[in-house]
Point group: C3
Chain length 115, copies 3
């Protein structure tokens, strides 16, 4: 059975199946003139809320793909990411430098988690 | 158990495990001079066939990653995507602007589904 | 239950859940002046070790996403990839041309597997 939550015009932000929770790509809300570290912190706060919506939390992340548009800000992003998560809970990760995530967006994060 | 279908020289287009179906990246067949909206419509038709091959269908998609090479055509792509899917069935989605999907390819779609 | 292995400062390289094994993005170790084919061969050897760590092997791959920074070297990469894997075991695959994988990195590979 598939359970879908948080519908937008183009997706459901959360889809569950067989105990695994899939999330749509998450961008920060405040983008203009905002550094990648700050955008990452905003994204982590949004992920906390999305995870809570399905009764999960950040200690139950499985995998993360971080798409970023400026590899030179990766260190600052890493600090925001690792400040958010306990070391023993870190999910897998791939950090991919891409060309365009929409106006002013420096990072977009896609995760999966367990309930 | 892993079940693989539709072998090409470099992949299987469909791999199933434990009720989840993973698909290789899908490109349109007609690419030259074809807009992103039209390429998306072609991809959706190919996904219908691939899903049918395993006894699934578009109402059972879990997640989608849409890699596109021209963010300015995103609206047209969105229209093709949401015309294809019923609103209540929309999977999670991430739309990532990348630099190269091969000659003339404007979009490549990677999905997972349930049987 | 989630089982995490091979911790780094920013991730666990391996996370298992319900019989599925998720891996972090894998880059080659020798990058400078090294072709995409050779980087791919290095990555495959690293994947062999990571898979062995969880009692799996390359015949049990489900899906692969290959992020590359130079589509013109795709053929050479394909040869390294298909030399590594038996034809009947090929996972799904998407090959995405991206702008930046870090200094001198031409390819990064993200896979999932079964135990």
């Amino acid at each position: 059975m598939i359970t879908r939550r948080e519908k937008t015009p183009i997706m459901h932000r959360i889809v569950e199946h067989n105990g695994v929770v899939y999330f749509g790509g998450v961008l920060a809300d405040n983008l203009n003139g905002v550094s990648m570290g700050s955008q990452t912190t905003q994204i982590c706060a949004k992920l906390d809320k999305l995870l809570a919506h399905v009764g999960s939390d950040k200690s139950k992340l499985i995998s993360a793909t971080l798409f970023i548009t400026d590899m030179s800000q990766k260190q600052e992003m890493n600090e925001a990411w690792t400040s958010w998560l306990e070391a023993q809970d870190l999910p897998t990760r791939a950090t991919i430098g891409v060309s365009d995530l929409g106006q002013d967006a420096l990072i977009e994060v896609v995760v999966t988690a367990v309930k």
